[in-house]
Symmetry: C14
Subunit: 92 residues, 14 copies
Amino acid sequence: MDNTSLIAMASIISAGLCIGLGAIGPALGEGRAVAQALSSIAQQPDETNTITRTLFVGLAMIESTAIYCFVVTMILLFANPFWNYVISKAGG
Amino acid sequence: MDNTSLIAMASIISAGLCIGLGAIGPALGEGRAVAQALSSIAQQPDETNTITRTLFVGLAMIESTAIYCFVVTMILLFANPFWNYVISKAGG
Amino acid sequence: MDNTSLIAMASIISAGLCIGLGAIGPALGEGRAVAQALSSIAQQPDETNTITRTLFVGLAMIESTAIYCFVVTMILLFANPFWNYVISKAGG
Amino acid sequence: MDNTSLIAMASIISAGLCIGLGAIGPALGEGRAVAQALSSIAQQPDETNTITRTLFVGLAMIESTAIYCFVVTMILLFANPFWNYVISKAGG
Amino acid sequence: MDNTSLIAMASIISAGLCIGLGAIGPALGEGRAVAQALSSIAQQPDETNTITRTLFVGLAMIESTAIYCFVVTMILLFANPFWNYVISKAGG
Amino acid sequence: MDNTSLIAMASIISAGLCIGLGAIGPALGEGRAVAQALSSIAQQPDETNTITRTLFVGLAMIESTAIYCFVVTMILLFANPFWNYVISKAGG
Amino acid sequence: MDNTSLIAMASIISAGLCIGLGAIGPALGEGRAVAQALSSIAQQPDETNTITRTLFVGLAMIESTAIYCFVVTMILLFANPFWNYVISKAGG
Amino acid sequence: MDNTSLIAMASIISAGLCIGLGAIGPALGEGRAVAQALSSIAQQPDETNTITRTLFVGLAMIESTAIYCFVVTMILLFANPFWNYVISKAGG
Amino acid sequence: MDNTSLIAMASIISAGLCIGLGAIGPALGEGRAVAQALSSIAQQPDETNTITRTLFVGLAMIESTAIYCFVVTMILLFANPFWNYVISKAGG
Amino acid sequence: MDNTSLIAMASIISAGLCIGLGAIGPALGEGRAVAQALSSIAQQPDETNTITRTLFVGLAMIESTAIYCFVVTMILLFANPFWNYVISKAGG
Amino acid sequence: MDNTSLIAMASIISAGLCIGLGAIGPALGEGRAVAQALSSIAQQPDETNTITRTLFVGLAMIESTAIYCFVVTMILLFANPFWNYVISKAGG
Amino acid sequence: MDNTSLIAMASIISAGLCIGLGAIGPALGEGRAVAQALSSIAQQPDETNTITRTLFVGLAMIESTAIYCFVVTMILLFANPFWNYVISKAGG
Amino acid sequence: MDNTSLIAMASIISAGLCIGLGAIGPALGEGRAVAQALSSIAQQPDETNTITRTLFVGLAMIESTAIYCFVVTMILLFANPFWNYVISKAGG
Amino acid sequence: MDNTSLIAMASIISAGLCIGLGAIGPALGEGRAVAQALSSIAQQPDETNTITRTLFVGLAMIESTAIYCFVVTMILLFANPFWNYVISKAGG
């Protein structure tokens, strides 16, 4: 249980929980937005263009929070500054 | 309980929780979107094409958060940088 | 409590929780979609074909998140790279 | 507390939780679908056939997630690859 | 705290939690289905036969998830492969 | 803290939790079914017989999940195979 | 911390939690049933007899789950087979 | 930390949790029943007698689950069989 | 950490949790009953007397569960039989 | 970690949790009652006096559960019988 | 880890949790009351004075539970009897 | 792990949780009040002044609970009496 | 595990949880307020100016609770009085 | 387990949880706002411009809480003052 393995363990657990938890909110939020978009199209077919455009902008906005989580997960796995430090120290 | 097994354990637990938790949100969100799509088709059959198209784009968007989780799970299992490091060190 | 048994324990626990948790979301989401499909058929019987077709596509989409969990569970049980490594090392 | 008993304990606990948790979602989802089916039949008796057929397909789909859990539970109890390994090693 | 008692403890705890948790979902789902059936009968008395028949098929389906849990509980208590192994080893 | 007392403790705790948790779902489900039955009788007094009959069948079905829990609790307390084994071994 | 006190502790804790948890569900379920009965009487005063009779049968059914918990609690406190065993062994 | 104090601690904690948890359900259930009774009286003043009588029977039924908890709490505090045993043994 | 302080600690923690948890349910239940009473008075001012009388009986019933908790808390603090025993033994 | 500090710690933690948890229920219950009172006044301004009087009696009743918690908190902090005992013993 | 620091730690943690938890209920309750007050003013502008007066009395009542928590927090931080005792003993 | 660092750790954790938990309630309560205010303005534009005034008073009231938390957090960080004591003792 | 690293760890964990938890409430509250604002604009377009102005004041108020959390997080990371103390002591 | 690795572990775990938890609230809040915007556009197409503008301002406001979390996560990973200190000390 030296430094290297402790930091690796923390990174692996944290990466899994980060995207695992972070996918719940955006998926529910997008589900709500898409559901309402379909309801609005059915109610006002003439506004399909406006509704679809607003929906896509909104989905991009919501998706951004999932992407924050994904980016942090990728950083933890592949560009982890703490890991790089202990590796360089272990290899030095 | 050497380094190798600790990192392997952390990866296994993290992979299972990541996709296990990450499947809840998208499934509920897609369920809501599909349910509303069916309701909208029943209410406005003439707009079936528009509704179906918007639904599929939305489902793809929601599915993307599940796919983030799946990708991270696969990385943790098969392309785990921390595992590769300790294996190469153990084998070197 | 050598390496072999630790990794085996982690794999078993993780496999059970992964599919156990991952079955909740899809089941609820599909239940909602099916319920709304039945309601829509009752409301608009003439659109049964469209509704059923959209329902099946949606169910397949939702089921996919359950299948991700099932695939990861199977990988953890039968194609576990960490287990293969320690077995090959123990047997070598 | 040798390897054999640790893996047996993990398998037993994991099997119990897997089906225990995994039965909640499908039961609730099927309950919702059946309830809506009955409501739809009462509202549109002429469509009983279509509704019943769609209901059964949907129930089968939802039941599949419970069956995934049941299959994993059975594998953990009766075809557990990790248990087989330690048994063969203990008996060899 | 030898192997025998550890496996016995794990089996007892797991059996209790498995059926304890697994009874919540089916009971709620069946309660919902029965409630809706009664409401539908009151609304459309002429369809009592169809509603009752569909209800019983649905209840059987929902009950199946509770029965999965009950079966696993019984297996854990009376046909536990891990217990049989350690008993045979202890008695051999 | 010998084997006997460990298994006795596990059985006692598991029995209490099993029926304690397992009574929540059936009680809520039956409460919902009874409430809807009363509402349906008030709405359609002429169907009292059909409603009452369906209600009792449904209640029996829901009660069955509580009875599963009660049976397992009784088995854990009075016909516990693991307890019988350690007693017979201790007394032998 | 001999066997006697361990089993006594487990029985006390388990008895308290069993009836403490097990009273929540029945109380909520009965509250719902009573509330709906009062609403139905106000809506259809002529059916007071039928409603009251159905209510009492339903309440008895729901109360049964609370009684299961109470019975198990009493068994754990006053007819505990594990306690009887260790007492007889300690006194023998 | 001898037997006496362990059993005393377990009894105290269990008594507090038992009535603390067990008061939540009955209070909510009675609140719902009383609220509906007031609503029904306002809606159908001529049935005040029937409503009040049914309400009191229902409240007594719901209160019974709280009384189960109270009785168990009192038994744990003042007629605890395990405590009596260790006291008699300590004093003997 | 002798017997006296252990029992004192358990009593203090248990007393705080007992009334802390036990106040949640009655407060919510009474809030619901009072809210409905005000709504009913506004809807049917002529029945103010009946509504107020029924409300007060109901509030007393709900308050009784809070009083159970308060009584147990007071017993734990000022008439604790376990504390009296250890004090008398310590002082004897 | 002598007796004095253990009892002091338990009293401090218990006092904080007791009023911290115990304030949630009454605040929500009172919020509901006040909200409904305002709604009723807007709906039936002529009954403002009756509504306000009933509201204040109800608020006092709900507040009583918060006051129970506050009283217990004050007793734990300033009239704690267990603390008095250990202090008198420590000072004697 | 002498007495002084243990009591200080318990006081700090308890103070933070007490006001942190205790602020949730009052804030939600007041939000509900204010929201309904605004709705009532919009519905019945002529009763603005009565509504506002009742609102302020109600808010004061709800705020009182938050103030209980704040008072206890302040007592724990600045007038803590247990801290005063250990300080005086440490300084004596 | 001397006294200084223990009290510092407790203060830091407690400060973070206090404002972290304490911000949830007020934010939700204010969101509800603001939402209703906007709805009321849209419904009764002539009463905008009264509504806005009442809203601001209400928001100030709700904000006060967040401010209690903030004040306690600031006290814990910058005017912590326990920290001052140990610092003065350490420096004395 | 000297003082410096303990305080650093506590600060890091506390900072992450503080803003992580503290962002949930404001985001949900603002989402509700914005949603209602859009609904009110659609319902009463002539009041867009008043609605938007009230919305922005309200959003600022809700945002303030998020900002409290952010400020505390920044203080914990960059102006932590406890960290400054141990650093100065370590460097002195 | 020296200082360096402890602080690195705390930073990694805290970063993952911070953005993982912090993404839930904003995603749900934005989902609600977008859904209502689409509903409002369908209801009042002439106000599309105002609605879209208000929506974007609101989304930016809600997104800000997610960005707070993201900023804190980035600070914890790449500009962590505690890490910089221990690194400089370790390297000095």
